[in-house]
């Protein structure tokens, strides 16, 4: 490796930048186009050819969405369900990960496998019986009912992700704590949990986002205004009485932007989470 970069290296780098830029444009264009369309009045939505940027900017679609009779309620519903799912999945996930990372626990390999299999169960397979069960328990159209269905995919994922992290906690730290006379419980709470905090944040992040974005279970089980989530409400706009593109695009934008901000702020954890899932275990 001389001080000057050779030509091949430079072209390779240039090529890489070009490729990445092209991909970036492709990745970001739909986002840009969605927002640009949502900011223009009806008369400019359907021009031939379409204009990349609006001539007049308007917030009327966004205002219409906010005034939609159930937007605020849907937002609240999505929040409640996502939070509830996250809390349960992460708490039980931590407990499970702790147990399965104990060296001498009997049946832990089997249980780890069970968790992984549970994670791989696609929602479409469970949706019919869960629908039956939740209706049978009188929990249809309740937050709790929907939370229960979300747990079916959130908890296994959470447990699995946390487990791979919990396994990396060195034995000696725990031993030292035992030697000091702490109970297992105290060791768990005061030593292990703080050490695994980054993975807990990651698991919570993923669980929240997956629950927030979820559609199928919410579509099937949450239909009253009191429980409809944002995704279901947005889909209903399409099934409404006229195809209001402006409203649909503005609503989509309002769903995506918080998700984006969330991702950007927590990107460190998200990248870690994605890779933890892929590389470890």
């Amino acid at each position: 490796m001389g001080k000057s970069l050779n030509r091949a290296e430079n072209t390779a780098r240039g090529g890489a930048y070009v490729i990445l830029l092209l991909m970036l444009v492709a990745a970001v264009f739909p986002l840009f186009w969605m927002i640009s369309s949502a900011l223009r009045p009806y008369s400019e939505l359907f021009t031939r050819p379409p204009m990349l940027l609006p001539n007049t900017y308007t917030l009327e679609w966004f205002r219409k969405v906010l005034n939609y009779s159930n937007f605020a309620q849907s937002l609240l519903n999505s929040l409640i369900v996502a939070l509830g799912t996250t809390v349960v999945s992460v708490v039980v996930g931590c407990m499970t990960a702790y147990s399965l990372s104990r060296p001498k626990l009997r049946g832990k390999n089997l249980f780890s496998r069970v968790i992984l299999i549970a994670y791989m169960f696609p929602p479409i397979i469970l949706v019919i019986p869960l629908f039956q069960i939740i209706c049978g328990m009188n929990l249809a159209n309740t937050h709790l009912g929907l939370i229960l269905t979300h747990i079916t995919f959130s908890f296994p994922f959470s447990a699995w992700m946390l487990l791979s992290y919990f396994k990396t906690i060195p034995r000696d730290i725990e031993e030292a704590s035992r030697v000091d006379g702490a109970t297992n419980l105290r060791t768990f709470v005061q030593i292990i949990l703080p050490l695994t905090a980054p993975s807990i944040v990651t698991a919570a992040t993923f669980t929240f986002i997956n629950s927030w974005n979820e559609f199928l279970y919410a579509f099937v089980l949450a239909n009253s205004n009191a429980t409809k989530t944002l995704t279901v409400s947005l889909q209903a706009v399409k099934g409404g009485e006229m195809m209001e593109w402006g409203v649909v695009l503005a609503w989509s934008a309002m769903l995506v932007i918080p998700s984006l901000i969330f991702f950007a702020c927590l990107s460190k954890y998200i990248v870690a989470g994605l890779t933890a899932g892929a590389v470890k275990g």
Partner: protein
């Protein structure tokens, strides 16, 4: 231990007092109302009526928007979970399904309270009557009209079509991509083609059902009607566009992507609001057959049924009724004789100062007077019309166009599939 026991006893005592008190309170504090009206103005109008009711009686009405296509699936989940609302406004075939399942109750007494069946236009009550009683009260009605661009017809020297041959001729004459003459609605997740076909089937003398609700779709007349619609597609639709749904119509009309279509006067309302320059060039006429849809108000079987019935009666008091109708015109025509009469407050609404709005509403009224029915309800309300709007017809059209299946075969297969579905329904209902 004794302290705990006495505490528990006190608690039980308190709880029993509270529950007895609650039971003694016969009137509910609130009732739940599901409706498919999603436009803000209609929601506001309903809420205003609810507010008036609250001021009069102290009962709150909680409105929830449940879109038409979703109601069919959602009421079942609600019913199994014991969470039905108190009042539902839905589509006619959904009303029957709920009534047959016992989720809703007869409303003969409500109609009496409103003033009796003579208060309603004749044609609007047939779809509400089933198995000896009235399942629902018709809130409003609309008719599918021919919506057309008079400038396009003039430019091609065409007059308004009335027969299928004329429709085809006009379509060919004015088709001018990207302004297509008459876009078809072939998306299988909706029933756009089922109703378009229905209107022309009646002209050709074909039927979906016979009186005993056997599918008689497979007939020569149907084949002619289907071939006609295929010709219309080839002459006036964007090639390959198999995914238009009914509520794309508004965009299609407002942007000139279609120059003619069959739909209700709601399209005029949308054009007047969103694309006035296009609205100026639009006009309406009666369709070859009157496809009239009424919107049933059903009362659910529950502890609040009496209050619910009272609220329904309240909705039909003249002032409240006109207030509601005013919230979205043209498009909603009155089902009550007094309101439909030429001298009523309805026709004096400011919206009718616009000539097109007035004409659209009047044309709908004409069609409703003449009488007609919506798909499958030729012999009255029945639990099977829903089968016809489940996408079989759209799938048939797609098979013909995309897979080149001969029309005769496709019609046969469609009829068989619909018959299967009807049989399954009959089986499940113990028919």
């Amino acid at each position: 231990m004794r302290r705990v026991l006495s505490l528990v006893l006190c608690l039980l005592l308190m709880m029993s007092i509270v529950s007895v008190g609650a039971m003694a309170e016969a009137k509910p504090e609130s009732i739940t109302f599901w409706m498919g009206y999603s436009q803000q103005s209609r929601v506001d109008a309903m809420e205003a009526i609810g507010q008036k009711y609250y001021e009069q009686t102290g009962v709150k009405v909680n409105f929830e928007v449940v879109t038409w296509p979703n109601t069919a699936e959602k009421w079942r989940a609600a019913y199994s979970a014991g969470q039905m609302p108190d009042i539902i406004i839905c589509l006619p075939d959904q009303a029957v399904a709920m009534f047959v399942a016992g989720a809703t109750i007869p409303v003969d007494d409500v109609i009496e309270a409103i003033g009796g069946t003579e208060k309603f236009l004749d044609s609007v009550l047939t779809e509400q009557f089933y198995d000896g009683s009235y399942m629902a009260v018709p809130h409003y009605a609309h008719d599918r009209l021919l919506i057309y661009r008079k400038d396009a017809l003039e430019a091609a020297g065409q007059s308004v079509p009335t027969t299928p041959e004329e429709y085809l001729a006009v379509t060919k004459a004015i088709n001018d991509p990207p302004s297509y003459a008459f876009q078809q609605l072939f998306n299988a997740s909706d029933y756009g083609s089922a109703f378009m076909l229905d209107i022309f089937m009646r002209t050709f003398g074909a039927q979906y059902f016979d009186e005993s609700y056997r599918i008689v779709f497979d007939s020569e007349e149907t084949v002619k009607a289907v071939e006609f619609l295929i010709d219309m597609y080839e002459a006036g639709s964007q090639p390959d566009a198999m995914d238009f749904i009914i509520n794309d119509q508004f965009t299609l009309l407002n942007t000139g992507a279609t120059l003619m279509t069959l739909d209700s006067a709601f399209t005029i309302k949308s054009a007047l609001d969103s694309a006035p320059e296009v609205a100026e060039k639009m006009d309406v006429a009666l369709a070859p057959a009157n496809y009239i849809t009424t919107f049933p108000v059903c009362v659910c079987d529950g502890e609040n049924a009496e209050t619910a019935k009272d609220f329904v009666r309240f909705m039909f008091e003249e002032d409240n009724y006109v207030d509601f109708l005013a919230s979205y015109q043209p498009g909603m025509n009155p089902t009550m004789k007094a309101t439909a009469a030429a001298d009523s407050a309805f026709w004096k609404l400011p919206v009718f100062e616009n000539a097109l709005a007035l004409k659209a509403s009047q044309t709908q009224a004409e069609g409703i007077e003449q009488g007609g029915y919506s798909i499958g309800n030729q012999f009255g309300a029945n639990p099977f019309s829903g089968v016809l709007t489940s996408g079989y017809v759209e799938e048939m059209f797609q098979d013909i166009i995309v897979n080149n299946v001969p029309v005769v075969d496709a019609v046969k297969v469609c009829a068989e599939r619909m018959q299967e579905a009807v049989d399954e329904q009959k089986d499940a209902l113990g028919w």
